[in-house]
Symmetry: C2
Subunit: 222 residues, 2 copies
DNA sequence: GTAAACATCAACGAATATGTTGATTTTTGT
DNA sequence: ACAAAAATCAACATATTCGTTGATGTTTAC
């Protein structure tokens, strides 16, 4: 009845009591995914702060405790939902930065691809952006540190490309690279306030291209 | 002892029980201000969502109930702290929009003045921006509706100026006015993520001018 | 110096949050 | 059909929130 006493329950004792078996039973994985998807909807509505496990349970019309059968804490649910896609974005930025395009083209591509990514994974990356905005998360240390690192990588990609462009003369120097970089990230990040792929008149790619044009045409040193 | 039965306590019964007197007793106003200032610090650290009245009390080292002696609810505290300065910003935007500068100069001025305002009232306007980001506030209806209205006014100022510029040929049409407008607001709004006046290498005005240059030089039609 | 107004606090009640557990229902395999 | 495993739930314990209230200190005025 009780869980085997020899299971290495290092922390979170609660969940998945009769497990043992490989975690990949057909239905288990499916249910877990359903919960994650419901959580995304709730997080999008209420923010990570405001979203309670109760609210996620209500979204699915099930009992709150059932969720703990699949995940062991709210934190784990955040992680389940957000980490993979945020990480993918980091890699994308690093690849563009490492490519051999001229700096203005790198910037343009970065801006467009980030916007496209926001649209494709909507609303996941926006949830992440909003959360990271409020510096509340200082407590959930492990998770929040990783997320911050992902951010920093992307920021550094922008900064480095701008420095490169200043150095090789392909970009006109209009201000500190860091300020410019944050500006560009701000434009695309801010779309979380108004861009809704399902009802938008313009595609994420079109918006990205508009923004790239807006910011880069004035910096090009042609 | 009890509050006079004839006082028109329409709602929030709690606060200021023995008042009657004009609200402007010397110390009362001072204390109320101290509380507001402590609240600003806490809101800045934790966000409006995450900030509890307890945390504000702790910030001052006083009892939680004492705060209710000065304010009657968390909402009133938000309002006390944020409304005036947000409103001032709205007026500023409206004035620039109504001036007779050429559209590109209006845009430049708007961007710079908004940034300057962020710096001057730091961190107040950033608290407001962050809160408005998460759409959580739908509940605190009265307050949140007003704040949304202020936002909309500023957005519309940008949109209208861009349309004006497209129409009179002073701005090159690079995309939908709404998209451009949100982009410009995004750049300045995003500064809440990194701009700290006390330690920054560049002034709010310099940053605003850099951003204005970044976005407007590419749109100027000369 | 003393009474009234002012300011503070401990304690309470009602909500809501998180995470756990024992029992119960449902599904699955044979 | 039936036993074992999987999934769900009601209920519990604990913590934290908000807003209120009666009592207790502390100023102020006269």
């Amino acid at each position: 009845m009780k869980a085997d006493p020899d299971t290495n329950e290092t922390s979170g004792l609660g969940r998945r009591r009769g497990n043992a078996r490989e975690e990949s039973s057909a239905t288990y994985q499916r249910r877990r995914r359903e919960i994650a998807e419901a959580a995304v909807r709730v997080f999008d509505r209420l923010g990570l702060q405001g979203a309670s496990i109760s609210a996620v349970a209500a979204e699915l019309g099930i009992n709150r405790a059932s969720i703990y059968y699949y995940i062991s804490s709210k934190e784990e649910l955040f992680d389940e939902v957000l980490r993979a896609v945020a990480e993918r974005n980091r890699i994308m930025a690093a690849e563009i930065a490492a490519s051999d395009l001229p700096p203005p083209d790198k910037l343009r591509k970065l801006i467009v691809e980030i916007m496209v990514s926001y649209g494709e994974h909507y609303p996941l990356l926006y949830i992440y952006i909003r959360e990271n905005l409020s510096q509340v998360s200082d407590r959930r240390t492990g998770w929040s540190k990783d997320m911050r690192d992902i951010n920093r990588t992307i920021e550094n990609a922008f900064i480095h490309i701008i420095e490169q462009g200043y150095a090789d003369g392909s970009l006109r120097d209009i201000g500190p690279p860091k300020v410019i970089a944050f500006g560009m990230l701000g434009v695309v990040g801010w779309t979380h306030r108004w861009f809704r792929p399902a009802t938008a008149e313009h595609s994420a790619r079109e918006i990205g291209e508009t923004y790239a044009e807006m910011m880069i045409s004035g910096m090009r040193a042609n």
